[in-house]
Amino acid sequence: MAGMTVIVRTIARLLFPFTFLFGVYIVLHGHLTPGGGFPGGVIIASSVIMLLLAYGIERTQKRVGFLQAEVLESVGGLAIAVLGLFGLLLGIAFLQNVFPLGELGQLFSAGNLPLLYLGVGIKVTAGIILIFYAMLFAFRGEEK
């Protein structure tokens, strides 16, 4: 995929920050409003894929490479595991809340739920970008 015309590139460049910010909003407000880790991660991944389709693979890969996405996916999985073991180390159940609960309806409340959603969001973003890279590079050596 070699990239598209100048109109598509300009629109994609202008639209990328807003889509990215909306995805981050969905992830961070997952415990208050509809949404959560998976939809927010899918929206962030869609913004990166939009850049990928508009600018071609080579230029996007400098920004979000294959190795970076793999490392990010591992970091997301590790965050969920570490949060779970936190409760286990203190002598209560796996994934049990150990942080202060805060006030209902505030952004920084509900204990470890926002951190858990953050981990899920990072993992889903990296995973979906990895699926796209894998499908695009499946037969790269044989072509042309």
Binding site: F38, G105, I131, A134, M135, F139
Partner: protein, 119 residues
């Protein structure tokens, strides 16, 4: 409300028809998506009640939890459907990758011609 179930069953029938009669691997995957959409519509319609509100507790509802529970829709089918959507996108990616590999290997997308061994 009965119309929801009619459309859901029609979508499932449409997906089964596509899976049984079409002769193209990507068209078969499209039929799979339509069938899954029908099942999701059926499950969400099961949990709905007339005049209900969404099952999300915000600040002012917290003082009147029994009244909230009397009006909210059933959240259990919604959690099921959320899991089902996640699994659906994974199965879609796997099936499309297998389709690309099959096309490279056999040079066709017709499932009835995939039986021969590559010589």
């Amino acid at each position: 409300m009965d119309f929801n179930y009619v459309i859901a069953m029609l979508l499932v029938a449409l997906g089964l028809y596509c899976l049984l009669l079409k002769r193209n691997l990507i068209k078969l995957i499209i039929g799979l998506v339509v069938l899954t959409d029908g099942i999701h519509l059926f499950l969400i319609s099961l949990g709905y009640r007339l005049g209900g509100t969404a099952a999300i507790v915000s600040g002012e509802m917290f003082s009147d939890l029994p009244g909230f529970a009397a009006h909210a829709v059933d959240p259990v089918p919604q959690a099921l459907v959320l899991t089902s959507i996640v699994i659906n996108i994974c199965i879609l990616a796997l099936a499309l990758s297998l389709t690309i590999y099959a096309y490279r290997h056999y040079g066709t997308l017709d499932p009835s011609k995939l039986r021969r061994l590559k010589e």
